[in-house]
Amino acid sequence: MRAKTLALEKNRRSIWSTIILQRELIIMSVPLLLYKILFSYVPVTGWTMAFQNFKPSIRSMWDQEWVGFDNFVKLFTGINGERFIRDIRNTLAQSFLTLVVSYIGSILLALLLNEVKNVGFKRVIQNITYMPHFLSWIIVAGLVSTALSFPSSGGIINIILMKLHIINEPVQFLSNPDYFWGIVAGSHLWKELGWNTIIYLAAMTAIDPALYEAADIDGANRYRKMWHVTLPSIKPTIVILLIMSIGWILEAGFEIQYFLGNGLVIEKSETIDIFVLKYGIQMGNYSLATVAGIFKTVVSIILIATANWISGKLGEEKLV
């Protein structure tokens, strides 16, 4: 008993002496820890708003009217419910379409770039396709809305389609809800296609050239080498990125939808993020917006944790 106390005493003393010894490291890191707690953890206390009928005019958080789970019920029923469920559908559909298009597109582009033997040409193409990544969404939205406008305002898509006689009349892309999901996916594709190839190209540089030589001896042509050597070699990267993107599926992005959305296409354009923004900031319904935000965070955490778990099971490194 006495020995145990002594050991504990000694232990405590050694903790203090370690702290004193490492005071410089502590000064370098603990203020930043407190900073992070303030900006990332303290806001979570705002989740109490979800259980209140929150009025910004009342100063103290505890003087608010507590309503239990009323806001959760409100979010999924009635007129709000219809809108919220529609927004979940839009988020998932846009995200899924974007994921499929840019995922397949960037793997294909990486394969094609990998076949280019002229280093200078390859570098030029790479740099050109990386460029849109550095433009802001607001610029991209402007370029997309110009490209999709009428021929008289320089709508290049309509001009090309009419020159090729695919259509006879210009199409009003931005005011027809049926096109909106495609426009979102297309904008993402344009902006990120080149950038997304980087990780695949990096994986391809690690492929042992002996594999290609062996395939050559076996008489494999170019397509067979792509299919049987390059693709299997980057499979781990492909799988990991797919799993992770499924984990982030509720992050459909929100800027392009916000910029290009208008009253005519709102049925297909509004996402969860825009719902939160409109209810919270514009309509002042803080409680409902917080509930919607909590819903999104919780579902995201579940998805990401599952994705992480699956990739752990598959024996891959955990990415997040």
Partner: protein
């Protein structure tokens, strides 16, 4: 012999198709930007007639003259530059300082602090609670809201820490034997060795800050003197898109823009928008080649995490 010939013919066809496709793809990437550039240098009244593709028909600097004379744009440009510089400096300094502390194996709070930061990559309190925090801190409509919430990002922290761990331990130990304190080791030994990674992260942080629109929209839209270029551009785009359904509004906003600039010639909203787009896009595209030689290496490193 015959087989080899067939193979090479196949190769030629493939290479031709591949090259053509890649050139077409690059054209699709470049066209919208070149088109905007051409419109921005074309005479405003002439642009309205349409048919400007890659080259201005009537060369004119009028739109740029108008844009640079607009007080709002000049102020927004300065705020964007200032904000980006401050964020890059503070973010790199604080993130790498923390990364250094967390890379020391003997540091007792290493695990705890790392966990606190890594967890923030998974969850977000949400828009409204964050807004309330900023509001309660009295940071609405202040310059501080641009950089104070952004001095550390968990992802960059992990990337830098991983990089620091690859620095030979003996280097740090020998500095300690020579009597250097932790802060000095960080500043004079570790930071210079991290330049490739820091350059990459600087690029990402700079792009993120320069391109951000939401912080201005959410927190600073009430104060014109804190407006940024992206926000000004968004306002113009929004009015142009409304005007798409209502052409009268377009000419009004154009003439407003023109009078604001004190211009004698009328520059159309389309030319003004093109000029502002170019002014907004060019600075970040200029930074890119300087940092480019670092980033492929740095990005590959970023993929390796624990």
């Amino acid at each position: 012999m015959k087989k080899r010939k067939k193979l090479s013919a196949e190769n030629v066809i493939f290479t031709t198709c591949n090259t053509t496709f890649l050139i077409l793809l690059s054209a699709a990437m470049l066209y919208p930007m070149l088109n905007t550039l051409a419109i921005s240098f074309n005479d405003g009244m002439d642009t309205v007639r349409g048919g400007i593709y890659l080259w201005p028909r009537i060369f004119s600097l009028q739109s740029y003259r108008v844009v640079f004379n607009m007080d709002t744009i000049y102020g927004a440009f300065m705020i964007s530059v200032l904000k980006t510089i401050i964020i890059v400096i503070t973010n790199l300094f604080f993130t790498s300082m923390l990364a250094y502390a967390l890379s020391r194996r003997e540091y007792i709070f290493r695990k705890f602090i790392t966990t606190v930061f890594v967890l923030t990559m998974y969850f977000n309190a949400g828009l409204i609670p964050n807004y309330m925090l900023i509001k309660n801190l009295g940071m609405i409509n202040t310059f501080a809201v641009y950089w104070v919430p952004n001095i550390i990002s968990a992802f960059n922290l992990i990337v830098i820490r991983t990089y620091i761990k690859s620095i030979p331990e003996s280097l740090i130990e020998s500095a300690k034997i020579d009597g250097a304190r932790e802060f000095r080791i960080f500043l004079q030994i570790v930071m210079p060795l991290c330049v490739p990674t820091l350059a990459t992260i600087a690029l990402f942080v700079a792009v993120g800050s320069w391109n951000s629109w939401f912080d201005t929209f959410l927190y600073c839209s009430g104060k014109q003197s804190l407006s940024t270029l992206q926000y000004e551009l968004q306002k113009l785009l929004a009015s142009a898109m409304n005007a798409g359904n209502n052409p009268a509004a377009a000419s009004i906003s154009a003439s407003q823009a023109a009078t604001q600039g004190g211009a004698t010639n009328v520059a159309t909203s389309q030319s003004i928008r093109a000029a502002i787009t170019i002014v907004t896009a060019v600075p970040i595209l200029l930074v890119y080649p300087f940092l480019q030689r670092y980033f492929v290496h740095g990005l590959a490193l970023g993929g390796v995490k624990e």
